[in-house]
Structure formats: structure tokens, C-alpha cells
């Protein structure tokens, strides 16, 4: 997917929310959907199980309007976090311009976070993408939980953020950190416009 199309004068950014199951990826998208004016957003497509687990993926298109003569669109996707949906994750990850890794801050979820991060790297590598070159932000979600249940951002940094990417502490249920995360990853993706621009 071209990041920038000079012929049609469009900028399209695909951002994928990745992370272990129940880390809050869909919650992020739902919060954004609720806060974006109707005229700016498309229909949020969500395929979920009865237990509200993401079955396939969530998709939220955002139309940011004309910016400097370019129709600017963001497409936000989530992947199903469960281990057995790896094929779907690979599919959704294709052509991603940026990734938000939504980590579950709960201490007992640390292994799942690490496993999911490794899975992200493996899937990107399978598509010939070096994770080091892809704009990425890590969101430490559920930081609102009691301190004895969650790991502090510094501890999560040590376990997950060995690349030193930007991180955001969040409580996606009430929206804290949700837009900060989106802004951070958007900034990284848009910075690459001139580097990666293709006709």
C-alpha cells in the first residue's frame, strides 16, 4: 500500500494495533471511534465472538480531510490477540505503515506480552519487514489497576522496549493515553513521508 500517492493526491496510513489477547486493542479503537466526529470516521468493522473477543479484526477508517492538498486517511486495524489466529495477524499486518503494540501492564501477563512481541517480529520478518525500521509505539495499558497488580512503565520498558521506541502509559477504558498513542505513532509514520514516498 503506498503511503503517499501523488497521482490521486492521497496520503493513506495503515496503523495496526498489535498485542496479546485482552490487552485493550479494540478498546483503543472503540474510544477513538467514540471521540471522532461522525463526518471524519467510517463505519467501524468489528468481528467479535460472544465473549467480545476479536475474532478476525477491527477496522476503523478515519478521514482527516484535505491537508496541504492531500486527502489524508488513516486506517486503524487491530489483530486478534489469541495465539491461534496467527494467520489473521499476518494478513492484517501486511502493508502496515506503523504499529502500536498494546501491552497489558498486569504482571501476570508479562509472558504473553513478550510472546506477542516476538510473534510481531516474526510475522514482520516473514513479510520481509525489519521491525527496527517500522514506526512503532508501545502502549502500557491498564496502568490504572492497583499497583500491586501491574508493572511500572520502567519495568515494562526493561522487558519489552529494548529498541527504545516511544511508550505511552494508558488506561484505554477511560481514554487516558489513547490519543497520545495515536498521535505518537502518526507522528512517526508521517515523518517518513519524504523518505518512503512512492508514486
Amino acid at each position: 500500500m503506498p503511503l503517499i500517492n501523488f497521482t490521486t493526491r492521497e496520503i493513506t496510513c495503515k496503523i495496526v494495533y498489535y498485542g496479546p489477547g485482552r490487552s485493550g486493542k479494540t478498546t483503543n479503537l472503540q474510544y477513538i471511534f467514540d471521540r471522532v466526529p461522525e463526518g471524519r470516521r467510517g463505519r467501524m468493522v468489528s468481528l467479535a465472538t460472544r465473549a467480545d473477543r476479536t475474532l478476525f479484526f477491527d477496522f476503523l477508517p478515519l478521514d482527516l480531510g484535505q491537508i496541504s492538498g492531500f486527502a489524508t486517511r488513516f486506517q486503524l486495524y487491530t489483530v486478534p490477540g489469541q495465539v491461534y489466529y496467527d494467520a489473521t495477524r499476518r494478513l492484517v499486518l501486511q502493508g502496515a505503515d506503523g504499529v502500536v503494540f498494546v501491552a497489558d501492564s498486569q504482571a501476570r501477563q508479562l509472558d504473553e506480552n513478550i510472546e506477542s512481541l516476538q510473534n510481531l517480529q516474526a510475522n514482520l520478518l516473514g513479510q520481509g519487514v525489519d521491525v527496527r525500521g517500522l514506526p512503532m509505539v508501545i502502549q502500557y495499558n491498564k496502568q490504572d489497576l492497583p499497583p500491586d497488580l501491574v508493572l511500572a512503565p520502567a519495568e515494562l520498558d526493561r522487558a519489552l522496549n529494548f529498541r527504545g521506541v516511544p511508550t505511552v502509559s494508558a488506561d484505554a477504558l477511560v481514554g487516558r493515553g489513547v490519543f497520545e498513542t495515536l498521535k505518537a505513532v502518526s507522528g512517526l509514520v508521517l515523518k517518513r513521508l519524504s523518505e518512503d514516498s512512492t508514486a
Partner: protein
């Protein structure tokens, strides 16, 4: 740390009201008489009520009156960090010395000192020192000093001993004044009563008041029409607001709607994204504008770039500029080529319009069609007829290399060797190969070169001579030693070599003589040839002699007798030419005798082993020097080459 003071935070921009008048007056007084009035001055109050603004205003005021005043503005947190870092680095004394030398210390957010006894102790010591020397300290704090938790008693007393003045929430008039001032600052005009309506709202601090102003400004900008009072009321309250359209009316029950804060969240995101995109587009435009500024003064038409600058980008800007510059380079090459043969046509406008490169190429073709063709390699010396053996392998390899990368590898390439070893043949092979690669070659002998130059000198058309050879993509010159002996020709050759080397165009020379023959040339030519590669073609080895013999015999008889081939291949030879000459002698003799060429005939002819009845025995030398023959017109009487005697001895020993 005065650099961190916000330039907008001055007394002029501070909106005074009843709730902050006392603090403002005290701050002005302190700024007007450092250390003499209200020292220390401590401004307390909730966050967002203007305490920091007043501290910074004092800093600006003092600096304006006394530019050389020594002053630091920092937060208490920064002060503590700096202190800890200095102590850890063993630089506590220099830290103290720096602060004790101040005329004015502005310490913001002093509430950060709670539960930090060592910092409080340090601040107390500093405060005592400053007070003792009549210098000023001013603090801001979210709490009153008496409310400081775990505050050092002595420090609390010192602070209370100065002036503690409180700022409180602004009243309606102040709020309205603030809104009007800020609206004017951002050049935003609202309809009548809008700001008054906004000022009537309830706010916890001035920041919330300003946030309401920003929301109203954003709403008005998005709607494109002035806000109505009801819209303003909704905009500043917690009612529904939809960004990007008209302000919504009261929402239906149960419908989830975005609050103003939510809308602000999205609009902030949108503003950030817009800023990032604009930065990129600006970057592109700058790149295009730079290119226009470079090429337009040089006379090139930049319409294509200007079109891109106006927003009609047809591709990534880097590619647009790169293509334009590539076209300019192409035009320059075409213009240069035309200038060499027809200088009067080099100023044609077509050479200054990158959108007309095709026309420029056609013009060059027309010009070239009108000039003399370049000398081409001989078909007689094609690639297929050159026999490669160990004696020429290095030279053949070098030729293959330069044909693969003309001008980039061995340039110039000099083929050196005795006469008749195949230098000219290989030179023409090189010319054919380069020509097949699409290179325009000029392949000529030194005789030809000198003759053309001489005529050009006589007619005073040296420029045309230079243009003639100068338009070649590769120059291949045979018998270089002949050029080197003539001063004018050497001058011209030096000129051409320099031009070809500068343009990375291939040069190939053939030079008769031994490896050191190059040293006999004009020193200027020698120095230029030494930058390339000189490779020798040795005298024919047995394998070459054998193959040459077979080729010659097959050419006449379609087949060659093995005994004859072996015998002739064993005969030493100075050159390929002498091998062919020897075979020709055998053929002539066979023809004269009316019998097929054979080993016996050759032995008879060359060694006199079996004297022929009809002829006198002839002692034959294989050097190509024919001995006495029966027929005075025989080719055997021809002297093809006079070899060096020493070389011959060596060869025969080797053979």
C-alpha cells in the same frame, strides 16, 4: 536559566484583577528595587492562576532595566536535581558559588521541596546568604508556606518574614479581560456577547478559561461562520459538540456523544497530523524552490518545477527534481557535442529547456549527419579471426575488460609488442566490441591521424579536426610510436587524451616495440599512458603457430596434413605475419611443383633434406627472409621483415 523564561510572560500581558492585584503590585515593587522590598516574595495560589507568569514578568522587568543583572529562573524540582547532580559530582562548592553570586533567584513551584530536608536546608542557607547581601529571592507555591508538609521550621519562618501574597480565581471582569486580550493576541474576532458568555462560565483556573476560548475559536473556524450565543454556550459548557460541522443541538437521551474535551482531543490530534503533513509538503516545496533558484539563473526553463511548486506534484519531489536535473545534464552533453562540430548552433534555445531533450537530440543528429563520419574499425580484422593463445591472453583479457566498462577500468589501454604479433588486429577487435556496446568509436592508424592533422593545420581547421575525433566515445589509435615522433601530432594527441580521460571515454593504443618502447614517446604522452594499463603481446608460441598454419592451409586446400602442420608449428617465428609468410612459401613451392603441400616438401624446402630434381637446393631461413629462388618473381624472394638478430637467437633457442 533566563533562557527558559517565556518571552510572552511580561507585566504588559498580565491581566490584572482584584484577585491578583496585590500579587502583581508586590512583584512590580520587588522588580523595581531588588532586595529592598518584599524579600523574599512568595506568591501562593492554586495552579493555573498566573504565579509563574508573575515570576517571569519580574525576570523580564529586571532584565529590561538592568541587562547585566545576574539572575536565574528555575523550578524547585530543577534546583533540587541540579543540587543532587553537583553533590554527586563533587561540585557542591561551585553550585553554591553560582547561586550565591545571583542578584535575583526566581524559584517556581516551591511545593516540590516538601519532604526534601536536604534541599530545604540548602535553600535556607542560600536564602540567608542572599538576604544578608541584600539580594532578591522570589518564589511561587501552590500552597501557603504554613501548609508546607515537613517544611523546615527555619525556612518557613524566613519565607513568612518576607511577603506572602495570594492569587485567587479571577472574577468575571478579569475573565472577560483575559478572554479579550487572548482573542486579540490570536487575531480571532467573535460576535457580540460571545466572550461575555464564555466569561460567565465556571473555571477552576485560567488555563480552563483559555481552553474554552480555544474551543470557541476552533468551532468558529470549522463552521466558517460566526458563533451564535447558544452555540457559544454549548461550546464552553459540557454539552455536545461535534467538530467539523455545526454545533449539535441537545443530544437525544442514551446517545453517546463526544464531550467538548473529547472533541478537543480529536482536534488536537488532527492539528498534530496536519502540522506533520504540512511540514512534509513544505519540505518538498522548499526542495523544488531551491532547484528553481539554482537552474533559472543559469538560463534553463524551469516551468516543470514551477508547476510542481504550484501544487501540481506528479510524483515524489525528489524524483521530480532528480529528473529535471538529469535532463539538464543531458542537455549540457548534447550542447557540448553540438558545440564541438557546429559552435554556432550550440546556443539554440532547445538546449535550455529540459522539456525539449528529444528535440535537442534530433538537433545533434542533424548536425552530426552534416559532418564527416568517424574512421571505423576494419572488417578484415574481425573478432572471429583473432586467435587467442597464451602469448596474447593478457591483452585479450584487458580488451574484454575495457569493452565491458568503457572508460572506467584500464584507460588508456596500450597494446605493445613486436611488429606482426597481432596488436593492430586486437586493436580493431577492441573497436568492434566497443562499437557493439553502442560506443561511437574512432579507430585509425597514426598515419591517418597525422595526415588528417597535417591537412587541418594547413587549412587552419584544427578545431574541426578536434571536433571530428572529439565526438567519439572511444579513440583507438594504431602505431602510436609514429605520433610520438611528431611534435604537432604529439601536442594534439595530448589534448585529445586529456579530453577523453576527463570525459571517461576509452582510449586504446597499439605501440610497436618491446615493453619499454613506451619510454621512447613524448614524455607528456608517457605520463598519461602510465595512468592506464600497458599489456604486451608476445611472439607467437607453438600453439599460435600451429593454429595459424592450419588456418592458412585450410584456406587454400580445405584440409591440412598433420605432418606438415606439426613441422611448421615447430619452426620459430618472430611474428604471426612471418608464420603466415612461411606457410605461403610452402604453398607457392607446392604450386610450382604441382604437388600438394606436405611435410616432406617443407623439409625439402627449408632444410634441403630431399633436394628436388628440378630445383637447386635452397637454404631457407624461417625469419621471413627468402633465400635465392628459381623464379625472380617468387614471393620467396620477398623480404617481409628484418628481425633483430639477438631476438632471433633467443627465439630459436626457445623454439
Amino acid at each position: 536559566m533566563t533562557a527558559e523564561i517565556n518571552p510572552r510572560c511580561t507585566f504588559d500581558t498580565f491581566v490584572e484583577g482584584s484577585e491578583n492585584q496585590m500579587a502583581c503590585s508586590a512583584a512590580r515593587a520587588a522588580a523595581g528595587a531588588l532586595g529592598a522590598r518584599y524579600n523574599p516574595l512568595c506568591i501562593i495560589g492554586a495552579s493555573g492562576l498566573g504565579k509563574t507568569h508573575l515570576l517571569m514578568a519580574v525576570g523580564h522587568e529586571v532584565k529590561a532595566v538592568q541587562p547585566d543583572v545576574s539572575m536565574i529562573y528555575c523550578s524547585a524540582e530543577e534546583f533540587a536535581k541540579e543540587f543532587h547532580a553537583a553533590v554527586a559530582a563533587g561540585e557542591g562548592p561551585s553550585f553554591r558559588a553560582r547561586y550565591e553570586a545571583l542578584d535575583l533567584l526566581l524559584l517556581d513551584d516551591a511545593q516540590a521541596l516538601t519532604f526534601q530536608p536536604e534541599i530545604q536546608s540548602e535553600l535556607l542557607r542560600l536564602l540567608d546568604r542572599l538576604l544578608q547581601d541584600g539580594r532578591q529571592m522570589m518564589l511561587s507555591c501552590d500552597l501557603s508556606p504554613s501548609e508546607f508538609e515537613a517544611l523546615d521550621e527555619q525556612l518557613a519562618q524566613r519565607l513568612a518574614g518576607g511577603l506572602v501574597v495570594e492569587v485567587t480565581l479571577p472574577d468575571y471582569e478579569t475573565r472577560l479581560a483575559i478572554l479579550r486580550r487572548r482573542a486579540a493576541d490570536r487575531s480571532t474576532q467573535f460576535g457580540e456577547g460571545i466572550l461575555e458568555e464564555a466569561a460567565r462560565g465556571e473555571y477552576r483556573n485560567v488555563r480552563e478559561l483559555l481552553a474554552a476560548l480555544h474551543r470557541l475559536a476552533a468551532l468558529q473556524a470549522m463552521q466558517g461562520t460566526p458563533l451564535t450565543l447558544s452555540e457559544a454556550r454549548l461550546g464552553v459548557s459540557s454539552e455536545a459538540v461535534r467538530m467539523g460541522g455545526r454545533v449539535a443541538q441537545a443530544p437525544a437521551r442514551g446517545v453517546a456523544v463526544a464531550t467538548p474535551a473529547d472533541a478537543n482531543e480529536f482536534s488536537t490530534f488532527l492539528a498534530d497530523v496536519s502540522h506533520a503533513v504540512e511540514e512534509q509538503v513544505d519540505h518538498w516545496r522548499e526542495a523544488v524552490a531551491r532547484a528553481v533558484m539554482v537552474w533559472e539563473p543559469e538560463g534553463y526553463r524551469t516551468a516543470r518545477l514551477e508547476q510542481a511548486l504550484e501544487g501540481n506534484l506528479l510524483g515524489p519531489v525528489e524524483r521530480i527534481v532528480a529528473r529535471f536535473e538529469a535532463d539538464v545534464r543531458r542537455l549540457r552533453r548534447l550542447q557540448e557535442a553540438v558545440g564541438e562540430v557546429a559552435p554556432e548552433r550550440a546556443s539554440d534555445p532547445v538546449f535550455f529547456d529540459p522539456d525539449r531533450t528529444a528535440e535537442a537530440e534530433l538537433l545533434l543528429k542533424d548536425v552530426m549527419a552534416a559532418v564527416r563520419p568517424l574512421p571505423v574499425p576494419s572488417d578484415r580484422w574481425g573478432e572471429g579471426s583473432f586467435i587467442e593463445t597464451d602469448c596474447s591472453r593478457a591483452a585479450v583479457s584487458a580488451v574484454a575488460t575495457v569493452a565491458g566498462e568503457p572508460g572506467r577500468r584500464y584507460n588508456p589501454l596500450v597494446l605493445v609488442g613486436s611488429p606482426g604479433v597481432g596488436k593492430s588486429h586486437l586493436l580493431h577487435v577492441a573497436a568492434h566490441r566497443l562499437s557493439n556496446q553502442g560506443v561511437t568509436v574512432a579507430c585509425l592508424s597514426a598515419h591517418h591521424f597525422v595526415d588528417e592533422l597535417t591537412e587541418a593545420l594547413m587549412r587552419e581547421t584544427e578545431d574541426r579536426f578536434r571536433a571530428w575525433l572529439g565526438r567519439a566515445g572511444a579513440l583507438l589509435l594504431d602505431d602510436l610510436q609514429l605520433v610520438g615522433q611528431r611534435a604537432a601530432a604529439a601536442d594534439e594527441l595530448v589534448y585529445l587524451i586529456d579530453r577523453f580521460l576527463a570525459g571517461e571515454r576509452q582510449l586504446v593504443f597499439a605501440l610497436s616495440g618491446e615493453r619499454h618502447a613506451i619510454e621512447g614517446l613524448d614524455p607528456r604522452i608517457v605520463s598519461r599512458l602510465e595512468g592506464g594499463l600497458t599489456v604486451a603481446i608476445d611472439r607467437p608460441d607453438r600453439e599460435l603457430r600451429r593454429q595459424l598454419t592450419i588456418a592458412k592451409l585450410e584456406e587454400h586446400y580445405g584440409a591440412a596434413e598433420l605432418e606438415l602442420v606439426d613441422y611448421l608449428a615447430a619452426q620459430p617465428a618472430q611474428s604471426a605475419r612471418s608464420v603466415i609468410g612461411l606457410v605461403q612459401r610452402i604453398l607457392n613451392a607446392a604450386e610450382a611443383r604441382g604437388e600438394p603441400p606436405s611435410g616432406g616438401l617443407a623439409r625439402d624446402l627449408l632444410e634441403g633434406v630431399r633436394p628436388a630434381a628440378s630445383r637447386r637446393s635452397v637454404r631457407v631461413r624461417t625469419s621471413g627472409v627468402a633465400g635465392p629462388a628459381t623464379a625472380p618473381t617468387s614471393r620467396e624472394k620477398t623480404v617481409w621483415a628484418w628481425p633483430d638478430l639477438l631476438d632471433r637467437i633467443v627465439d630459436e633457442e626457445a623454439g
